[in-house]
Symmetry: D2
Amino acid sequence: MTDGELYERAVAVAGRAYAPYSSFDVGAAALARDGRVIEGVNVENAAYPLGICAERTALARAVAEGYRPGDIEAIGITASPCGGCRQWLVEFRIERVTYRSESGEIVTTTPSSLLPDTFRF
Amino acid sequence: MTDGELYERAVAVAGRAYAPYSSFDVGAAALARDGRVIEGVNVENAAYPLGICAERTALARAVAEGYRPGDIEAIGITASPCGGCRQWLVEFRIERVTYRSESGEIVTTTPSSLLPDTFRF
Amino acid sequence: MTDGELYERAVAVAGRAYAPYSSFDVGAAALARDGRVIEGVNVENAAYPLGICAERTALARAVAEGYRPGDIEAIGITASPCGGCRQWLVEFRIERVTYRSESGEIVTTTPSSLLPDTFRF
Amino acid sequence: MTDGELYERAVAVAGRAYAPYSSFDVGAAALARDGRVIEGVNVENAAYPLGICAERTALARAVAEGYRPGDIEAIGITASPCGGCRQWLVEFRIERVTYRSESGEIVTTTPSSLLPDTFRF
């Protein structure tokens, strides 16, 4: 699966988002090293800070299915990931991130480009 | 599936948790009205506030698979849900919550008992 | 200071909320045992899950000013606290919580009534 | 006040952190355009995802004191900000961020360098 195809999977799943508060649907699709694709969408809550972004849904779901950090090779996202999700991309040691940038371009980059000089713990 | 069996599904999945910071593994299993069980675990992050609890993983995963609030009938959790997750149980209009309480008992109750007089938005 | 006066302090500060996404301003006022009142408001973010509620702003501010869990006696809030904030009220061992309930009544209660059977860690 | 002095203010306040779970104390100090310095520390919770970082405490406190995005000129932080906090630095349109990097250096940079190509909402 190419990065472009992974991004298209993210686009295809975005309509499942539960985003009644922002009306901003986001989809994500994570590619595991074994070839499986695990999808996620944003899930909002009436108490806004309790919501979860699409990337984190996809990655948390992957963990629940048995994957660990290091097992996810790439992720496609329908929007530029927020800072919180970028920290997850780093934690999961994902290699390639493909997303639609603010300017409308489909970009492929790395977590460390999106979150330079992050802390280690 | 009984509430007790649902709780056992939560216990069985808890070992998949990614909890290197707290070493506190939690599992959750949501029962959809169509009979499907959707499992979740807690997924922590080096930046602690960015982590996700097991219940929210299960419910976000359910949404990514096409379920909406109202479609989940019951949930089993290996620990007493935190306040943040209780707000999700309310948002999803879940009917029954079964968890292991602080005293070690397996309790079945409702979201509104766990989060009385919550706000509507 | 009475609980009613504390609630009025919360009402008075709510206008300072930064809530451009929900347009739902919330204020909170915490009463320390030494008599000081520490106020907070909700602060939202374009990435909704990164926002902070009014109660947590007030309590985090109290900590930054030198207070610890056990030092806050009571809190007033302009709305029913979300589940996430109820977990903070428990952590800070606050005795009395006064807020405007969904039915419009001003209620004084305890954190453990608002978050029964919570976990200890 | 220089950026170095602002960083020293962050170092000085870090000891007030409430971080019983990570034992990782963080301090932050925000400089408002009117010359005031507003300090924050991280405040953790037994439910890890409900905690708040030092930078967000400082900025939420600033809002509660009447400041708005655009009113904060610079911030000093004792550690590299997490992705979630970088999103706040962008939202508040802060000009300069000074922090101790992973390599131990004191660095001054901009929010957009720390969170390139972020989304607008």
